[in-house]
Amino acid sequence: MNEFEPRIIAFACNWCTYAAADLAGTSRIHYAPNVRVVRVMCSGMVNPIYALKAFEGGADGVLIAGCNYSDCHYLNGPIKCDAMFARLKKLVHTLGLEDERLRRERISASEGVIFARVIDEMVEQLKKLGPSPLKGAREKAPSPFERAREEATV
């Protein structure tokens, strides 16, 4: 059982997609366990650096998901997110990563099923692509936070 298990970092908006992920859980919907969800207040606050840092830290794929255009708690979050995502996509493309490693979705709070389906789809695609070329190629010195955490656990 040495099959490659991709790791996905999902930035999910507090009001819609995070609630959808919650709904998927409470509805007992099965989906791939490869995703780590990071709750953000709005998809419009996600900066390209979030995704770049995720790739730097060894993520195989990044999902940025938030409300539909008409549902946004802050009115224009998804529009901001779209503009940011267009730039992020170009950066990731220039860096030489496959376009499928980055995904933008709009999932409303009632769409737990769609959230589960998106994750399953992404995992399947990433398994075909294999590990990210940016993963673990460089041994980096631990950051002060990591060092502090190590000291605390010892």
């Binding site: 900066n47 770049l52 730097e56 950066l91 860096l95 030489g96 190629a137 010195a141």
Partner: protein
Amino acid sequence: MNLEDIIKETKTFYCLECGKCSSICPISRYDPAYSPRVMVEDALLGLEDGLVHNNKLFSCLTCGACQLKCPSDVNFPLFIQKMRAIASNNGQHGDCAHSGTTQSLTQLMANSTIQQRRLEWLSNGYRTSDQSEVLFWVGCAPYFDTVFEDLGFKVTDIAKASLRILNLLGIEPKVLPNEKCCGHDMLWTGDVDTFEELAQQNAAMIKEAGVEKIIFSCPECYRTFKEDYPNYVDIDCELQHISEFLSEAIEKDGLSFKEIRKKVTYQDPCRLGRHLGVYEPPREVIQAIPGVELVEMKHNREESLCCGTSAFTNCDLYSKQIRVERLLEAKATGADTLITTCPKCQIHFRCAMVNKGEEKGPDIEIEVMDMVNLVANALEVQDDG
């Protein structure tokens, strides 16, 4: 390297406490809490912790104005570079502008496993050749195009204009498809490990390419290759900035330019000017174009003011004030265009104009252009975009 070695290497112990550095420092003029003299004093008193954990360490523009005025020849920019390496090991990184996107991209580029798609801007109109003995170093322009999209110019236009000029002079240069960042910003923010990794990868690629000469359009890459790479890797090539290359070509062959009626002024980038002493070649090139009148700003050549930020760290209110001051100086000359040779100077000036304070309005608006774009226009070439 510890504090003692740094003091020895940068000759900090010669400091006379005269304070000339603090009086010429562009940051100190706006930020009274920042003083190069105090930093040097702290170092000599052995107050390493205070220095390293002070965010002001990352405010220095490393523009080199202080070094020029110092009667004891203390190498303050080098002192800052080495101190930042210690700070970086202690988890201090300064406040990275643009959320640290540019730094992060450089760190990602340092992975030897990636194969970038960095030449997509290169259209059929430009001739490059893999057999060429001349290499054109593109730099980070393909990334800057995306990161600085909203500033209303394409950084790759500088690379395109440079290729056009080289093509017109009968040179079909080589370009590297997987060129890495030169690591300038990493070195100057203290991340020496990443810098070394990048230097080694670049050196290996250049060796494999077997070129005899490298031409740069970015002064930061040029400085890094010329001054910093020899400490880490061997680059056995002739290095030239495009302004030096062009001024030689004008002297030798006398290029035929079309007339451009324009009054321009020239901003010396700190890396090309004070760091490497290249003041005249860009001016010779600009003046060789008929119809172009070059007027100097109040501060020019060695005295030139910085564009306000270096290595994309600690860009703050004071940086903005420096930029506005420089733009006002450029406006005061009555020039139509501010010419520079550094893409980052152009980014910073354009940023100041886009995000201007309400009080400054149209007072600071001036056309900013790279020298190679002016030359390409004068050589009567059309950019096919």
